[in-house]
């Protein structure tokens, strides 16, 4: 499994791997919002947590269809399925690789981009923390969507339609943590709910993803 993780990371960094694609998209999206809304500091500061969360979510979505589609095309997915790795382990490693190459850079970059949206000072640690807790759930849910659509040609749009509604709870509580943090309010409840969603998806969805992948490989 370590070998699979290392291979996925190497492939992401090499030519055509798409590493940094999500990050660049995130940067451009946030810049566009900043230009579009204009230099009204108070308005930007109010919408900053929500914009940063929506941006992170869309950037995450961008690279989901590569998770299994590339392996399916060149046949390695079938060979992995016959390898001595449990399918649940394969999908978990795939989700982890997706998070490391997409989610983690977003988490690190978000506070910098918060500066661009004049996010209030107390909001930065909470924005960072909410993304750190929430983005693993985005990757795991996205892996489930990718497993569902792996057999389809150009399944990217369908994948977005399946995955985006499932992202809603993560977005609601993640953005709420960041907003309350920025306004200095109590944020224990949304933070715990966000952590609960992440733990729940991490525990359950790999089994669902493995099951649909087995069916899709038939």
């Amino acid at each position: 499994m370590i070998a699979l993780l290392r291979r996925d990371l190497v492939l992401a960094v090499r030519a055509g791997g798409g590493f940094g694609l999500g990050l660049a998209f995130f940067l451009i999206l946030v810049a566009l919002v900043a230009f579009g809304v204009g230099p009204g500091g108070a308005l930007l500061a109010r919408i900053a947590p929500g914009i940063l969360w929506v941006g992170a979510l869309l950037a995450c979505l961008l690279s989901l269809d590569r998770i299994f589609a590339l392996d399916r095309e060149d046949g390695s997915l079938e060979l992995l399925a016959t390898a001595p790795l449990p399918m649940e382990g394969i999908v978990s490693v795939k989700a982890l690789a997706h998070w490391i190459t997409t989610g983690l850079p977003l988490v690190v970059a978000a506070p910098l981009l918060g500066l661009m949206l004049s996010l209030p000072g107390p909001g930065y640690p909470w924005l960072f923390l909410s993304l750190l807790i929430g983005t693993p759930a985005l990757s795991v849910i996205g892996t489930f969507g990718a497993a569902l659509t792996v057999g389809l040609k150009r399944g990217g749009l369908l994948l977005s339609l399946i995955v985006l509604p499932l992202y809603v709870p993560v977005l609601i509580f993640g953005a709420e943590v960041a907003r309350r943090g920025a306004e200095g309010q109590a944020l224990q409840t949304p933070l715990l709910l966000l952590a609960g969603i992440t733990c729940g998806t991490l525990a359950l969805l790999p089994f669902a993803s493995a099951a649909v992948l087995r069916v899709n490989l038939r």
Partner: protein
């Protein structure tokens, strides 16, 4: 470890293809599958590899002992020959890749990107992958596609070494591999009767 397949029925996309497939292999034996296009060779191999369920029949071997060689080789174009092979070796428990490189004459190409290989070289790399899996039962689907005569001989030698080491192989192929000792199973007579076509879709039109 013997391999015994009894009265196996298989289907592709809901259409029954073969029924009553029975054969047995003991270590050191190979079986060649023959049959016209669409007769179910690939589906039979996928069923044996555990990638899809059989309609009926019994298989008496461990699916963990199978190394499947499909039409696609499962190579990553952005990784070198050695990296590709090392990855599959690591997944299967870390065998040494040097014998596999030597067996398919790939040493000179070991640092070449797999994307820069010719079709025949890719195929040789895909076949070398079988050796690093360390699995006893090779299931091969048209292994000689795009191989030249010399490479086919390398392949036949690798299969013979695998059999001599107590391995087994089931190979779907159209050409003569130079393995006269292998048993041959013709899938033509085992074709399943087509089911009555029901006009399910037509009812909606």
């Amino acid at each position: 470890m013997d391999m015994r397949v009894t009265d196996l029925s298989i289907a592709r996309g809901g259409v029954p293809l073969l029924e009553g497939v029975s054969f047995a292999l003991v270590p050191g034996q190979a079986l060649i599958l023959r049959g016209p296009n669409g007769s179910g060779k690939t589906t039979l191999l996928r069923t044996l590899a555990g990638l899809q369920p059989a309609l009926a029949g019994t298989l008496t071997f461990d699916s963990e002992s199978v190394a499947y060689g499909a039409h696609a080789d499962g190579l990553k174009a952005q990784m070198t020959v050695a990296e590709n092979l090392t990855f599959w070796a690591a997944v299967h428990g870390g065998a040494d890749i040097a014998p596999a490189l030597a067996a398919f004459d790939l040493q000179a190409l070991r640092d070449r990107l797999a994307g820069a290989l010719s079709a025949g070289q890719k195929r040789r790399l895909g076949l070398a992958r079988l050796m690093v899996t360390g699995r006893a039962l090779w299931l091969l689907d048209e292994p000689t596609v795009s191989l030249d005569a010399g490479s086919v001989a390398l392949f036949a030698a690798a299969v013979r070494r695998h059999l001599a080491g107590g391995g087994m192989a089931v190979i779907a192929t159209h050409i003569d591999l130079g393995l006269p000792e292998a048993a041959v199973l013709d899938l033509g007579p085992l074709k399943a009767a087509l089911p009555q076509a029901d006009d399910f879709d037509g009812a909606f039109l």
